[in-house]
Symmetry: C2
Subunit: 129 residues, 2 copies
C-alpha cells in the first residue's frame, strides 16, 4: 500500500465522477435530484442516472438509505479521498510514482502563469516553516 488510512477503491469513470460531484454537494439526495442537476451538462435520462447510481452502490461508491419509498443516496468516499486516489493513479501511471520528477515535468511543460508559480512558491515556503 502506498499510504495511510483512506484506501478503498476509488476508481471512477467520467460518468461516475459527474454523479459523485452532485452527490457530494447534495447528499443525501434522490436520483431525480442528480438527474436534474446534470440535465444541462449531460442530458441523461432518469433511468440512465439511476442505473449508474445503483451500480455505484454495488461498487461501494454510494450508499442508499430508504425513507419510506424514497431512496436517498450518499457518498461512501469523500471528495478528498477521491482526489487523492485520482492524483495517485496519475502519479503512478505517468511518473512511476515519483513526485519530484512529476513536479519537474509540470514546471517545465505546463506553462504555469507567473502568478501560479509565485503562489506555489508561497505554499512551499509556508510548508517549510
Amino acid at each position: 500500500m502506498t499510504n495511510n488510512i483512506e484506501m478503498e477503491k476509488t476508481e471512477m469513470t467520467e460518468a461516475e465522477w459527474a454523479i459523485m460531484e452532485v452527490v457530494w454537494d447534495n447528499a443525501p439526495c434522490a436520483a431525480g435530484t442528480v438527474q436534474e442537476a446534470l440535465t444541462e451538462s449531460k442530458g441523461w435520462a432518469y433511468s440512465t442516472v439511476k442505473t449508474t447510481m445503483d451500480r455505484m452502490v454495488k461498487k461501494g461508491l454510494l450508499r442508499i438509505e430508504k425513507i419510506r419509498n424514497l431512496q436517498l443516496f450518499s457518498p461512501c468516499i469523500s471528495q478528498k479521498q477521491a482526489r487523492t486516489g485520482e492524483f495517485r493513479k496519475m502519479l503512478t501511471r505517468a511518473f512511476n510514482g515519483a513526485m519530484t520528477p512529476m513536479m519537474q515535468f509540470l514546471l517545465d511543460n505546463e506553462k504555469l502563469s507567473k502568478s501560479e508559480i509565485v503562489a506555489l512558491k508561497k505554499l512551499v515556503e509556508d510548508k517549510l516553516k
Copy 2:
C-alpha cells in the same frame, strides 16, 4: 481546448499504458517483444497482447510498419504527450482544472518528505529566475 499543439486523444486503459511503456522503450518492436517484456508483471498470452496492440493501432495510439512479414509497432504519441494528457485529465476531474488549489491539496495531504519539499522549492525558485 486547454492548450497548445499536442492534442490527440491520449486516453489509455491500464493495460494500454503497460504496453505503451514497453513500446516507448523498444520501438520499433514486435508484439512478441512486448509480450515477453510483460511476462513477469502481467503474464498475458501473446494473443492478448497482440489483440490489444491492434486495437491501439485502430485508436491511433500505435502504428505498424511492416517489414516483409514482420509487424513492427511504434508509438503515435510521445511519453510526454501521454503524461500531459494524464495529468490534465486528473487536474480537470479532481480539481476542476485549477492548478493552485491542486498544489495546495498536495502539500496539505500527500505528506511529501522534507527533501521533496526542498526539491520543489528549488524547482520553483529556478523557475522564477
